[in-house]
Every structure is written in C-alpha cells, then in structure tokens.
Symmetry: C2
Subunit: 452 residues, 2 copies
C-alpha cells in the first residue's frame, strides 16, 4: 500500500548501536591475496605493516575473527549520531511510479556529514591507545579529512592532513572544517617533504593529486616514529569499521519484515559499499536473491572498465601492492565533482567479491548523476553528496526495471553523505554549465589563482 506522505522512517534506539564489527574475511569464498612489499616483491612483513599503520589496525587487516568487539570509547562516540535512520523515499517512489519500495540508510546525520566518521573514530582510538602521538593522512575533497580531524580531536591526537592542492584552494569549506577541529592541513604538493619539493621543482604549478598526497603522508610517517598513516578507504580494517551500517540496516529491515532485493551504493574505493553490503554477503552465499550493485562514475570506473590484477595501491608505489580491480596506478581520472570517487582502483575486498561474481557494477556520467541528485533533493529536501547521488542514479534504473516487470522489490541504497559543502557543483548544474568531463574549470590553477 502506498503512503501519501513524503517519507517513512525506521529509527533504532541508542542502545542498539552495534557492539561489534563484522569481519567478512572468514565468510569469503576464498581468502584475499597477500599485500606485496614493492621493494622486495614478497608479501609484506608484520614489521612493514606496523611501521606504516597503527598496530591494532595492522592486526585487523588480516584478522580471521568473525566479530570484533567495538571499544567502549568508540561506541560512546558513535552516540554522537548513531544509530542512523532507515528512511523510505515515498515521494521518490511516487515520482518514479514504481511498485518497488525504495529505502535508504541515511549516514549524513554524522557531525561531519558522512559515514566516514565510523572508521575515523576507531582509527584515532587505537592510535591513541597504542601510544602513537600523531596520525597523518591524505584527503581529496575532504570528507575523510574532516571526519579524521574530529576523531583525532575527540581522542586527543595530533593530525596532519595532506589535501589535494587544487581542492585546498578551490573547495575551502571542508578545509575550514578540519582547521576548526584543530587539524593541520597542508596542500599537496607542499614544500614540507622531499617528495613535494621534488615535484614542485619539476612543475611549480602542480595542482596535486591523491597520489602526491599519499606519498607525502607516507614520507611524514617514516620521518616521525610517533606517527602512523591513516587511510579513509581501501583497507580491510576501514571496511570492517563501517559494518555498523549494514548491521543496523539488518535490524531495521527485520522490524518491517523485509529482506533486501537490491543493495546499492556508490564506489570510489569501497568504504561505504563495504560497510553497507558486506553484512549481507553470507545471506547471498547461502542462496538469498540479493543483488549488490556498485555505482561508479563513468569517468573513473575500475569495477566496470578495469581489470583484476596486482597493482600498486598508490601512484608512486610507496604503499603495498594489491590484487584488485584497477584502471592502472598511473591512470589519472578526469576531473569530476564526486571527488570521493576518483581512485584508479578499489578496495581489495570489493575487488575480490566482484571477481567472485558477487558484486554487480554500473557506471554513469556526472550530468545524469546531478540530475538524479537534484530530483531527489526536490522531493525530500535531503541534498546528496555527488558520491551518494551515483547510488540514487542507479536506483532509478533498478526501480524503472521493477516498473516494467511489476516486481514489488525492496531496494535499499546507502545515502553516504550530504552535499551541503558541494553546493558549488550543484550551482554549476543548476546554471546548465555542468559537463560530463570538466576541463577548464578544473585545469591546473596558476600559482596566482592558488594564492600561494
């Protein structure tokens, strides 16, 4: 029966915040491949991992424990916004005229506006507990950087963020947010590392990239015994922490007596899809008819257009080598507004389930994505991040197929974050200026434009 309102909502009480994270590795049809130390070509050693990462996180990376207890202080911090609502997009269903029900897990209620805080709090907690004094990380558009900035402030750690230089100057709001939380934010390339100075010497107007930012972050970690690298996606431990999303979702769907037919999320590296969908993987392996669907940008779609092979995790090959879907570590994604989806590869666990035939993928050009995001915002008010709008675009196709076949499916997507700090991109869309691949506006800015 259709509801005449705008939304329905299933909330969970605060004491239903999950008490443990779900580790999918023991349930996978086969184990992930080892990480490779690029300097030796051999599997990485424990020493290698613990010099780069916080000890507890390095251990989680290859843990075979199915359930990992969430430390009490992290669970206390989750009370800042969790559990998140499960919302039924009634007006969207009506607009599409579909017999399907469309629900979304609304992760945008976190103080920093996205799901990223789930793992940021865990990473900062373990870093503090294991005696480190500082984390170093990289960020593009800044969703991860702002989440980790808050987490480090709450847990009592210093944080250094290398932010892609063009974003540092052109998209300053998330930088301001990081600074308000007390983090030090440097544009990358910077003149504070050997690597940064090297590429600035070659090209003084270098606008930066994720690759330069990670390389500078790793260099800072090796220069400071008390520091460790923190990553906002990619790693197994990061996906592990985000499984609070899928666990809450299971309980919320059970309350309304439904099981998901489609689980849809955008994928840049895989942190939001992983946390949202991996807790349902065992059901699928046990025969449940669940389609897990990754929505990628057409401009950078490793799951749709890439291949599964060993490749570097970062452009310079300073991090480990991994098996996953990749477009090649030297692929430079064209400039699009969904900054969180501009990675050449994806998380090894996401690549693995794709390789095993457990994950579907589809790619969309950004004009279609902003069209979907704007439609959604006008029906419900919630303005999606460009990343989340990819999932919404995919939902339209799935719902329309349900209309064609008359299937009363349950479609659930992950609303990973809000787009309030991405309004510049929406303004371009509103003005009819958005193209599928931006050029001039995102070209390397001059030193003058960068105010350096």
């Amino acid at each position: 029966m259709k509801n005449s309102g705008f939304v329905d909502r299933i909330d969970l009480p605060i004491d239903r915040i999950p008490s443990r994270w779900y580790n999918v590795i023991p349930d996978l049809p086969r184990l992930p491949e080892n990480y490779i130390d690029n300097s030796t070509g051999e599997p990485v050693t424990q020493e290698y991992m613990e010099r780069l990462l916080v000890k507890a996180l390095a251990a989680q990376e290859s843990s075979m424990e199915r359930w990992v207890a969430i430390p009490e202080q992290v669970r206390e911090a989750y009370k800042l916004w969790r559990p998140t609502p499960l919302v039924r997009a009634v007006a969207f269903e009506r607009e599409l005229g579909t017999p399907a029900q469309i629900w979304f897990k609304y992760e945008a209620t976190s103080p920093t506006g996205s799901h990223k805080l789930n793992s940021a709090l865990a990473q900062a907690y373990y870093a503090k507990r294991d005696g480190h004094t500082r984390l170093v990380t990289d960020t593009g558009a800044g969703q991860w950087g702002s989440a980790l900035s808050l987490a480090c402030k709450l847990m009592g750690l210093d944080l250094l963020v290398f932010m892609v230089r063009a974003s540092y100057h052109q998209k300053p709001y998330r930088r301001y947010l990081m600074e308000t939380y007390g983090a030090e934010v440097r544009p990358s390339p910077s003149n504070t590392t050997d690597f940064g100075r090297k590429i600035l010497a070659e090209r003084p107007d270098h606008p930066g990239s994720e690759a330069t930012a990670v390389s500078e972050a790793i260099e800072c970690v090796y220069d400071d015994e008390g520091a460790r690298l923190s990553v906002g996606a990619f790693s197994n431990h990061c996906l592990l922490h985000h499984t609070v999303i899928g666990q809450e979702l299971r309980e919320q769907l059970a309350q309304i007596g439904r099981t998901p037919d489609f689980l849809i999320a955008s994928v840049g590296c895989g942190s939001n899809l992983g946390g949202f969908a991996l807790p349902f993987l065992e059901d699928k392996l046990n025969g449940a008819d669940i389609t897990i669907l990754a929505a990628e940008p057409e401009a950078c779609a490793p799951l749709t257009h890439g291949e599964y092979r060993l490749d570097f995790a970062d452009a310079g090959g300073r991090g480990p080598g991994v098996y996953t879907y990749t477009l090649g570590h030297d692929f430079v994604p064209p400039p699009i507004h969904a900054g969180g989806l501009r990675y050449h590869g994806c998380a090894p666990l996401v690549g693995l389930i794709r390789h095993e035939g457990l994950l579907d993928a589809v790619a969309y050009p950004q004009t279609e994505v902003f069209d979907a995001g704007t439609t959604f915002a006008r029906l419900h008010g919630y303005l999606p991040a460009p990343e989340s709008a990819h999932a919404i675009r995919a939902v339209i196709d799935v719902a329309n197929e349900c209309t064609r076949t008359g299937r009363e499916a349950t479609i659930v997507f992950n609303y990973s974050g809000h787009g309030l700090l991405d309004l510049e991109a929406y303004s371009r869309y509103n003005a009819g200026l958005l193209r599928d691949v931006e050029e001039e506006d995102f070209a390397a800015p001059s030193m003058e434009a960068l105010q350096v």
Copy 2:
C-alpha cells in the same frame, strides 16, 4: 553521576511528533497590542492582513485557541527529520567542570539545517490550500529562504526570495541551495521593483539590507493577486509553528525525570526562542523556577539595549506598526557574521514577555561567540551556526555560576541550526582575523566585486 562519554541522547519515536501547535496568547498575563496600519494610525483590518498574508495565517495571528491542530500533510513532512534529539553535552560539562547538566535540543537535523523548516512547511501548506500560487519572502544569510524554498517545492508553490545583495554574492552556498530547490532568488536591491530601482538610482552600489528586501517583497505581493508575503520570524503564527520544539522537549525531559531550570536560546527576532521556550511559560507563571534567557549579539541587542514601544516592523514602514522591544526602525546593525540576528526589533510576543518580566536577556560580542562555538565543535563535532553559538556562549556563563554556587541545575539550550554554510566565518576566526565589529570586509562591495 557523571557520564564518561561524549554525549547522551534522548530520542522520541516518529509517532510522537506533536499533533498540534501551542498558542501561548490565551495564557499570557495580558494580550498583545494590536498591529497598527501605518497609513491610518488605526489597528489593522482583516482585509489589510489578508491582502498581505495567507488567510489562514492571518487568522492564526490573533487566534485565541490554545491548541491548533497540525494539518496531516505538514505532520507528514515533519517526518523528514522530526522528532529532533535532546542531547546531553557531557563533554562540555566536563570541560566546564560544572555540577549542572547541559542539554540541547538539536534542531540542525532538518534537511535545510535549522529549525526554520517547522514554520516554512506550515506556511507553504496553508498558502497552497487557500489557493495562492506564489509566496514572496526576504532572507538575509539564507536559513529562512532555504527552508521556505524546500517547503514550497514540497507543497507545489512558486517562491520568490529577495536576498540581501551582499550575502547573495558573498555567501552564495545558501543561495545555491534555494536554487536547487527551485526557488527564484533575486539580490535586493534589484531592478525588478520600483523600490529597488529607486534606491539603486540613489546609490548604485547599495549592498542591500533586510529592510530593502522586505520592501521589495511587499511590493511584489501587492503587484500579484495570487501572491502573499511569508515571514520567517516575528509573527505570532511563525512562533506558533515552532512550538513543536518545546512540546517535544517537555516529553523528553519528562522521560529523564527533569524539569528545566534554565531555557536558553539566541534571539534575532525570536522564532527559535519562542518555539523552544513558550511551551514552558505556563509552568513559570504557575510558580516554577524557570529562567528563560535570550542571548543576543552585543552589536544588535534590542532586548538588552532597546526600549519597549510602538515602532515599524520594517525600515520603510510599509508593514504594520507593532509594540515590541526595538532599537528603532532606522537602526542599521553593524555587520556581524550571525546574519540571522541582525534585526532592529524582536517578535511582539517575545517583546511582551520581556516587558512582563518573564524573559531575561544578555548580549555578547562575536569573538566570544565564535570562541564558544569552536570550543563546542571540538568537544562534540557539531558545528553550530553563529546564531546558535550565542546560546552556547550564554550557557558557559550560567554553567560557571552553577559551579560557583554548587547548583546541580538543568540547563537546556536550543541548538537552532548548524554552521556548515558559515565556515567562511569560522575560518576568519581560526585565522585570528575576526573582530567584534567587522568593517572593511563587510563594507558595501563595489559593483565590480559584486559581479553585477
């Protein structure tokens, strides 16, 4: 007993969204004075009110019904985010070392980020129901404008927003949000009204003000039989709609067995204080020891520094005359970042309870306000709007007084909205550039700077 975490939270289930608004007028110690038609000096007629306002809202303005049923469609729309959480700021208590408990009603979870949507939805609903085709409004920083833009889109109405011209160009994110929701936004002064053309002819680089925006909005209403004026604060009906805040708060406090000793909110015109605190006025009149405290900006503090008298509601005297606390309708507030608090007067109901000795008031300079807001953000992650940060600044003084006297008081403040679209101001604070009264940066921009 102190909690060791960051927050506690009291949520209400979705079916506890209030079903009626509370109208304080019948419970006041005396009735508000009549509005005055400035062209006659006499009380306004029903005809005058209904030409300016939506008929149902004009009726609510002087209603003596204690309870007003919330229309089903408005209550359905409230499900987009209501009920809002009541959050205990445990980390803030710990930081202040106070024996008091500090709670806040977290209105920032609305899709547009503030409490303003409570009334916007009601106003758009009645406008549509009463056969109007368009609303016209004014907005400064844009919290009201973005809420009404969404409400009009949801209810199926056109909306024209006059946005103070300097904000239109210098603070574009809320403008982009309004446009994404489909509203037409014009800078004020504009060349689309007689009044706008008149003041542009006198001063081509006029940066605009609330006064110019209201005057242009009223002119457009009189030029279009299908249009009505919508106001985001000031009016009795606007405060009425916001009483969902205080009603939910009563229920949440009852759940933890507490009654409020201090109810604290910022006041520009009074919509957030009114909705939050008026539902507790009867308790106070019946002898409960409740202090209701308004936090104002030192730069524009009618309750603290103004006088209670008949004055114009708008600078040009085109709207009605009212009795309230005012700094004079020709007072031009110095430029501060809390754009929502820059009004020369306050809502008549708020003025009346102040005049009757039922409301305390205190004023703070903006550097202290941003210091309080930043401290709060670093303890809990929630970045307050500059308006809400005034309430937080007042909480510090009250909590410190409790520390001095050992009083285990219950302090509750209204967190009226988030500051994610105000990050430019936080960045100035972080950089040590913020002054109590800005000058150069907010001076009338040149035509060139405005890109007109």
